[in-house]
């Protein structure tokens, strides 16, 4: 197998160029998928026979909950790559992805509360899945706070990486212990191994929304990483010429 692409990722300049080429594609894909999914899901998908129209919030709730969990795993993977191969870009990815993940967790919790009020009769219940999402939010806060507290950039990245890895090892334990403690939430909406319980007209827009959210995450992450790369490499000549070209283009 050819590993050149992987080693090239170590070069900020190469990353800046290639991500600049990907960014418009990802941005447009996110825009199209999310708008199609939203209109389809909110206006055209059939009503639920029990929950009526209130179920439609899953078209935002489920994708954000998906992302909230997978972004944390991504943090740990980026941390591992950064610790093992000392790749600076992995450090950048870790620190730039954490706030996005925290926001996704917030959105999942808020939309869950909005859905819970008409369905369960209260904004918040101490149910296993809600509680583990809340704990996930605290784990994100921990990573972000540690990154801000350490002034040295490299040690901040390494410390965050260790914390994210410890967190990922703990997440299954936390999840199962909380589930044992109390559960009321329905099981996961999508399972890779099983056919979804929803009719096709309901889950297809959801699938579109999930893909759209992933594209949106990738686009925002790339934008944040590009900015951080420019900031970190501000002394390099290619950054100077790049910034000069950008500012002159504006004038």
């Amino acid at each position: 197998m050819n590993w050149t692409w992987f080693h090239k990722l170590g070069s900020p300049k190469w990353f800046y160029e290639i991500s600049g080429r990907w960014l418009p594609w990802l941005g447009w894909a996110a825009l199209v998928l999310i708008s199609v999914g939203l209109v389809w899901g909110l206006a055209f998908a059939p009503e639920d026979y029990q929950q009526g129209n209130s179920f439609r919030i899953i078209y935002i709730h489920v994708p954000s909950a998906f992302l909230a969990q997978s972004v944390y795993v991504m943090l740990a993977v980026a941390g591992l790559v950064g610790l093992v191969w000392k790749m600076k870009l992995a450090d950048v990815a870790l620190q730039q992805a954490a706030p996005i993940g925290a926001w996704m967790t917030c959105i999942a919790l808020l939309t869950g509360a909005v859905w819970g009020k008409p369905t369960w009769g209260s904004w918040w219940v101490w149910d296993a899945r809600l509680t583990s999402m809340l704990i996930l939010l605290f784990l994100y806060f921990g990573v972000i706070a540690l990154g801000h507290a350490i002034t040295n950039r490299d040690s901040a990245a390494k410390a965050c990486a260790v914390l994210a890895i410890v967190g990922v090892v703990n997440i299954p334990i936390i999840k199962y212990s909380v589930e044992w403690w109390n559960t009321l939430h329905q099981p996961a909406t999508f399972k890779v191994t099983e056919k979804p319980a929803m009719p096709v007209e309901m889950w297809l827009p959801l699938l579109v929304m999930v893909l759209g959210f992933y594209c949106f995450f990738a686009a925002v992450l790339l934008m944040r990483m590009r900015l951080e790369v420019l900031r970190r490499e501000s002394r390099a000549s290619w950054v100077r010429s790049e910034v000069r070209a950008l500012t002159e283009g504006e004038r």
Binding site: G142, A149, L163, V178, W180
Partner: protein, 223 residues
């Protein structure tokens, strides 16, 4: 190699014995937190007995957290940590000795004090073995997990609050299993399942966290 472990353990024990006041602080904190709860929720015996499993565990958890803030600080400031990092012995083994010594003097003391406070909260004598056993299995996990946070924050001036933010979410499984065991014992149900889970968490923490602590210390020293 095991010789180094024993030597370091003895050194830590001697150091801790020389400062008995610091050892007493978490215990006093534990007792005060427990004493505050009846004042806050009212003195009814039934209510106190019902919430006592969670209460004892929560207080123990906070006391361990409080005692961990200074775990590596002294060694960091006088340069011993740097010597550990550059020494030929595996750092994970050294930190394990350090954390275990710390646990023997603070965690174990909590375990010994807990039945008295449990009795004051109205825990029946029949629940005492489970209380002791669950704390005996759970507090090492708390110490070891907390040491990861302490290692990552040792170089920071105000690490205490950050330490709580990093570590408390990771403590949740121990809290659930420990208070669950006690709750089961209180209702006369078998608690063995919870205790076995706690024991497996302890085994996991004992084998895995030393590496994370060592990595954290290397980062903090390297800064």
């Amino acid at each position: 190699m095991s010789n180094v472990f024993v030597l370091l353990f003895a050194r830590e024990a001697r150091l801790l014995c020389r400062r008995p006041a610091e050892l007493a602080n978490p215990l006093v904190f534990f007792a005060i937190v427990i004493a505050l709860f009846p004042l806050a929720v009212g003195p009814e015996t039934q209510l106190l007995q019902r919430i006592s499993p969670g209460l004892v565990w929560l207080a123990a958890l906070l006391a361990v957290l409080l005692s961990l803030d200074g775990l590596f600080r002294g060694d960091y400031e006088d340069g011993s940590l740097e010597q550990w990092v550059v020494s030929p012995h595996p750092l994970a083994l050294l930190v394990l000795a350090k954390v275990l010594a710390h646990w023997v003097f603070s965690g174990l003391a909590l375990v010994i004090l807990a039945p008295l406070l449990g009795l004051m909260l109205g825990l029946p004598g029949s629940a005492m073995p489970v209380l002791l056993l669950s704390l005996l299995l759970g507090t090492p996990v708390l110490s070891l997990l907390g040491a990861v946070g302490a290692a990552l924050t040792v170089g920071l001036k105000r690490g205490g609050l950050l330490l709580a933010l990093l570590i408390l979410p990771l403590y949740i499984p121990v809290l659930i299993l420990g208070s669950g065991a006690l709750q089961a014992a209180l209702q006369g149900l078998p608690a063995a399942g919870y205790l076995l889970w706690l024991a497996s968490l302890a085994a996991l923490a004992l084998t895995l966290t030393p590496f994370a602590i060592a990595a954290g210390l290397t980062i903090s020293v390297g800064e």
